[in-house]
Symmetry: none
Subunit: 210 residues, 4 copies
DNA sequence: GATGAATGAGTTTTCATTCAT
DNA sequence: TATGAATGAAAACTCATTCAT
């Protein structure tokens, strides 16, 4: 292994460790309240160093979201690709897959919305924006595909598969936010997983051909 | 009508006009980007005056959410109270009621999440926090009640009614955010209402007793 | 005198006092080394207050230059308008007029060059840039006019009057900078006025028709 | 040629290449806006390496000015030494000599003034400051000498030769700055050379003994 | 000798909020 | 009651410079 190779690896490791620190801070405080100073402290670096790895706060934040999207797509791909499951089981499986994403990065969804600001978007590298769009499109597409299969297999009613994907995704993200909200008042309560199960189960039944 | 009574009325009118201005600015820019200065300008007042009517920025913001919650509860009450509709129709009716809230204040939900910050909550008048909780609990309760009715009438499967309310609310708020997100890239696309319809319809079917 | 009138006057006075403080600091340290913090201290205000009166550091700086240009134009107008002086005396008079500008604001010329940065220019209000150009054009025009008069009166050789104005202005600004430079090593030395006198005298003679 | 000799040569070559890169960057952006990072990139080196050859940014900058002064002195020496030219022709010749300096390094004069800051001077090696003073004194002296010759030859009026040198130098540097300023608004306009010619011609005539 | 990586020390600017009038 | 004016407190970001390798 050459020197430059090791350098590369170290650099990536540092990048990752910054992202991990940022995840903690952003999750705990939200995008605006989190300061680069805090993130730097959490990463045991100086604030200036953060800027060696990320163009600015927005960029750091976007990278986090990218990572989450990549994980989401990976989970969905695995689920969609399983040959031992029928469409119904796969829809029920969304619950596990999505919940897995939530566990990996519990509060990041909560801040996704920061990215929606047009101003924020403009400050990101075009490549980053494009990648975010591509990945989220891919995730939605994978979900829709499961519904399409179910219809083709005659198990689901004919509905617009992409609309069902929207329902699933909307339901998930809404429940995550809702969970967070509830936690503020009762930190122990964990209703997300069972509620998600219920939602998916109801969707499966609701799509069933009589 | 006494002098003090008129004063009261004028005061409330001014309060309302500030809130209207604030709604416009917050909706357009989001909580953090909106400045008190801007809001004051929109209300044709000086920034200092705003503080005569609201404790601080958070309080002004919370008041807006309160107003939206009141509107939501009103809509749901009306729906729940209608005797010409059965549980199934009422669940389908959630779509209209919730969409009405969205139309009244399209972006306010988008910022609701700001309120979740513990720090923010601490800065609110305790009465405000309490009222927000009471109203959102009431709204959820009204939704749950419809499901309960349906079960009692033997039309719906036995599930936890409150969990179904969570599903409905999560689905709604998630789709609103999702809609906003999509609008950034294609401002004309409006998929919220039909998707909401589809979601409610699927829930109704999914709860049906075979 | 109404309240608003007094307010206006106070506001202008404060603006002026900030500019005076800024002049001191900029002159002593140059544009880049001078900090808004220092200027604020010199003006006995908080840095934030400066931004109530000037858009940003560049704007404050440009305002200073504007003021100097206005003074310069005033001096030149007075000189050019005197009917008791012939062209030769007026050219000699440039020395006094220009030296007066220097005394009014000894080091400001030194920093004029900061304004040349295209980036700086872009951050100024278009109106400011326009006014700067207008005034400096006017000053040059007034100088050129004196030479033109001399030629028309048959006292000066035929040369391009605007070019002579450039010579006068270039000579003045160059000598100011040169003076500052020398002062660094020998603060007492004051050669500007006599040198300027010599320069103007030589120009007058150099233009004389044999 | 020994090894150490070659080392010396290589070292000097690298120093020169850094200075060339620095000249490009400083000229394009001015002292403050230019970053060591940029200069290093232009020199295809790492920023750290720059510090092996120059004490700091100021020192690098001063070295550039030194180089320019050396060039200026060389030009003036050549001019002053020509036996085929009389004092009048030599004064006219200043125009070419000075313009040559300008062409060699069009914007360096523009930034010379940075060096005047006392703070900057303190950060320079004492040797550098001394050399700058020595060279600029020498340049002025060479100019003055030409005037002195003219007076001794009975061609020029009796004036203080050093003062005339100041006039020439002031006129030159002032016009260079003025040219740069004009270029901002009309990049094609080039008035420096003819104006310099006019200035020198007028000085020659102005000094003529009747 | 050369450098990749890291950082300390600033600086401008923004805004919610206050207070004398 | 209303407000013009003022400001304290931050926070993002920059860059010359250093140092272990």
């Amino acid at each position: 292994m050459g020197v430059s190779e090791r350098r590369q690896r170290e650099k990536r490791a540092r990048r990752t460790s910054i992202m991990d620190a940022a995840k903690r801070i952003f999750s705990a405080k939200g995008f605006n309240a989190a300061t680069m100073e805090e993130i730097a402290q959490a990463a045991e670096l100086s604030p200036a160093t953060l800027y060696l790895y990320f163009k600015n706060k927005n960029d750091l934040y976007a990278s986090l979201n990218l990572r989450m999207l990549e994980f989401l797509v990976k989970q969905l791909k695995e689920l969609a690709g399983r040959e031992d499951l029928g469409p119904r089981e796969k829809v029920r499986g969304f619950s596990d897959a999505l919940y897995g994403v939530y566990q990996e990065d519990p509060l990041i969804l909560f801040n996704v919305f920061h990215l929606q600001s047009t101003q924020t978007l403009k400050e990101l590298a075009a490549r980053t924006t494009a990648k975010i769009n591509q990945l989220s499109g891919q995730a939605l597409g994978l979900i829709a595909q499961v519904f399409r299969e179910g219809m083709e297999a005659g198990q689901f009613r004919q509905v617009h598969p992409m609309a069902m994907a929207d329902v699933v995704w909307g339901c998930f993200s809404g429940l995550v936010l809702w969970e967070d909200n509830k936690k503020l008042f009762d930190p122990k309560k964990q209703f997300l997983k069972p509620t998600l199960d219920l939602a998916m189960e109801t969707l499966v039944r609701g799509l069933a051909v009589e």
